[in-house]
Symmetry: C2
Subunit: 506 residues, 2 copies
């Protein structure tokens, strides 16, 4: 029997991981490519995941004293140039607005008209425009710290795009803060990093390593870039969020100065940090299987789908009533800071097809209800973290009473599974030979599936790092915070080094 006949997604992960990813996105109806090159359309089921990510992160940002604001989409070209590294980092991928209207030419064809005196850049990130405004908002030490966040769209002209993971336009949040001291600013970046990590683990069930980036992977203009790094099922790393200590670079280029309590004018210290719709890509690649998307309950747009099974016309109405009541009672059950969210799918569609559509969408719990279940006051329950055929009849009231516990169990199970996968494919590397072997495909059938997190000493020489990246497509993902003070010999040079994580990455 051909492999794909058993699975909803073709190809499977082991057959073709990148293509499997695209097919999961499609089967779960999360997003699609648009007619605008590199820009995606986020469809309702995908957008609802993003809304859940937003809600919880926003709550945490506000809880820690941050306030939301909104800054212009456009940045004058001259602003981008103020910080040398920054413009260097972004000039190659900017959408440039040069005209302010369209006019029909002699043939009646529209042409750009009304050329602008100065071109505008569609923000790839907002340090320079926000810096300009902060320089007016910050006058005295009393104005500090200034803790601002923005939810927005940004544009980076990418050559090779992939739904959620790398798109020309994406949605994100960008925090921008100003502090009186470097220490306070660094504390802020670490606090946010912890929020990202805790959110990733507790809500997305995606374990991450928090660490500092080496110079090569630092944000253009930053002094320190921290990141959370997750391992996907193909063992590649995904950078899922970053938090930057910008030192006084942007304060100097934007003239963000404050009068200290001693009456001295000082440059401030700034930070910026962000996560994006890329997180949804990470979510997909952490949990999904060959049957489609798998959603951790805490981030799922809905927790339970009730599927009425009504083969006979005469019992149809009664089964539907039973389902509606079940829905109501389930929706009265608490989950997280709200209630259990339930879909009742009474579409006119074959039962098997309907059930598979929800498996592919990753809903945590499926409750099928037929005339016999109704008679026995039961529901037939399937969990997305179990096999599609592993279903169980549960008395209705027991199901309602334990739904919160079932969802918690699924959440825990997914996190444990993701942790086990990461641990299984993380290895202490002590020699160059071991390093090479780790990152070389052992099985020609599965050229994509190999390697993982190589934990090892590295001298952090930028030239060596670049050479390794070129030769093996392996990069330093981070210097983990957990072991940042350890000194270990470099696996390549024997020189004193840091303990780092090397991996292939997205």
């Amino acid at each position: 029997m051909a492999k794909q006949a058993n699975n909803a997604i073709s190809p499977t992960r082991s057959e073709d991981y990148p293509e499997w990813y695209q097919q999961v996105v499609k089967a779960a109806d999360l997003a699609e490519n648009s007619p605008v090159r590199g820009c995606m359309v986020i469809k309702p089921w995908g957008y609802a995941i993003w809304e859940n990510i937003q809600r919880e992160l926003d709550r945490r940002f506000k809880e820690t004293g941050h306030r939301n604001a909104y800054f212009p989409l456009f940045i004058p070209m001259s602003f981008l140039q103020k910080e040398a590294d920054h413009v260097e980092g972004f000039a190659k991928e900017c959408a440039v607005v040069t005209h302010s209207r369209l006019e029909a030419d002699a043939d009646g064809k529209l042409q750009p008209a009304g050329p602008l005196e100065e071109p505008l850049i569609v923000r790839p990130t907002s340090e320079t425009i926000i810096g300009e405004l902060f320089s007016k908002w910050v006058q005295s030490y009393r104005d500090l710290p200034l803790l601002i966040n923005q939810w927005a769209n940004v544009v980076r002209w990418e050559m090779r795009t992939r739904l959620f993971l790398r798109t020309t336009e994406f949605l994100w949040q960008e925090g921008h803060t100003v502090h009186a001291t470097d220490q306070e600013a660094i504390e802020e970046t670490r606090k946010i990093l912890d929020i990202y990590a805790d959110f990733a683990e507790q809500y997305m069930a995606m374990p991450v390593i928090t660490g500092e980036k080496t110079e090569a992977e630092r944000f253009p203009g930053a002094q320190i870039t921290y990141a959370i790094e997750a391992m996907m099922q193909d063992r590649k790393a995904l950078q899922a969020g970053t938090s930057h200590f910008l030192g006084q670079n942007f304060a100097k280029s934007s003239q963000i100065k404050y009068l200290s309590s001693e009456g001295q004018e000082e440059y401030a210290w700034t930070t910026s940090w962000g996560v994006s719709t890329r997180l949804v890509g990470g979510l997909i690649m952490t949990h999904s299987d060959d049957d489609g998307l798998v959603l951790p309950p805490r981030i799922a747009p809905a927790h339970v789908v009730i599927i009425p099974v009504t083969p006979k016309e005469e019992s149809r109405a009664a089964v539907l009533d039973y389902c509606r009541e079940l829905k109501q009672e389930l929706e009265a059950q608490p989950f997280l800071d709200g209630r259990v969210k339930v879909e009742l799918d009474d579409r006119d569609m074959r039962g098997g097809e309907k059930t598979w559509s929800w498996i592919k969408k990753g809903i945590p719990v499926r409750a099928e209800v037929g005339p016999r279940d109704m008679e026995q006051r039961a529901v037939f329950v399937g969990r997305r973290d179990h096999g599609p055929k592993e279903k169980q009849a549960i008395p209705r009231d027991e199901f309602i009473g334990t739904i919160g516990a079932i969802l918690d169990d699924i959440q825990d199970n997914l996190l444990a599974r993701a942790r086990a996968h990461r641990d299984e494919h993380s290895r202490e590397i002590t020699s160059e030979a071991e390093f090479l072997e780790f990152f070389t495909p052992q099985n020609k059938e599965d050229p994509e599936i190999h390697g993982g997190f190589a934990i090892m000493g590295f001298c952090c020489d930028p030239e060596l790092e670049e050479r390794i990246a070129k030769e093996h497509k392996v990069t330093v993902r981070c210097i983990p915070i957990a072991t940042e003070n350890e000194e270990v010999p470099c696996v390549f040079t024997g020189k004193p080094g840091k303990r780092v994580v090397f991996a292939k990455s997205y």
Copy 2:
């Protein structure tokens, strides 16, 4: 005594209404102009108002079966041209992206590079790009109705801009729906119009007239445009939201077709509808006074500010403790679907200055607490809908127990006040002379303050309408739904007409 000495805002409304508006926005720290022409920065207090607007509208959209999605910021130039009226309406105010990167020229100066094959328009509205996608999403009658909403930024290159009311970039929601019949599509536009109207009245305390636009004010490409129209304090109308029945115009230009249950291929019927950050401008101009912003509690970012009055160092700690406890207990009180939101302002600042800063920010309730209040277990309470000096000592527990009722009372009071203002300045007009008199300033000192809503018969002749608009700067705001079926003679021509509302407008 000079007038402005008595008020926090200078000039007052009667001195210079447009400038008063700008000063209220500034004093309440809602928004400011940015270095990018026509683009505003929405500051935290202003953005929190927008978040409250979003939350409640989003709840209502979802309750009525709409789902959120996200579509590209960019629209290929050729898409805009698909609908003739549509491109005519928007071509003159489009930001056009023509390049995809920046490159240094021989002098090291950055220049746009990487010219695009086809220019991209930054979306002024998304009918054309969404229509293209809907044409793929909709195949059969089973896919209908398709009810989608998007929260997004849009850009219309405006020549004269004003914070919130008219800006080059603004934030909004745009609903886009597809239906099998014209009747169902029209019902959708009316349902949304009712949601807008009810929200405006019940949350923003801004009474509105719902009605249909005449041809002159119709959305480019629509067959019917409905709107909600509110009266500002200068008696001008503000169009605060629109809901469009698009007929089959966009279905035909985008090829949105479906297979009916009878197996026929049919063009679908579409709608679109939106409200924007302009609502915040309407909120300001509906309620604010010469002391600054006035916020209806249901839309205020915070409901109560507690201001510790600590003239003596020895009682400072005790007063602050008393305030913190008060805050905690107030925050346990229910309000709307959540809790009372409380700010404790312990900034090191003179008491009078601090109190005025909150009056200007429009917070509904101020609770001052000094050593004597503490001794008497009382708080000294001021309401924003009363005069700044009208304050009342209330026993602490009574204050806590009645805060919900106080907030409801302020909400009701503001709505009643706004209704009374509108009714006072709405007049049945039966002759051209009366019309002219109504719209002519009677007092040279207050050239801006005159007129209001002229309710009158009008034959709806487009040429006449245009002439009146040119000569008197007065336009038909709408044909109110409440009286849409009445036939009344036209005040100008005597011909059979509709009952309409004429007004000057923003």
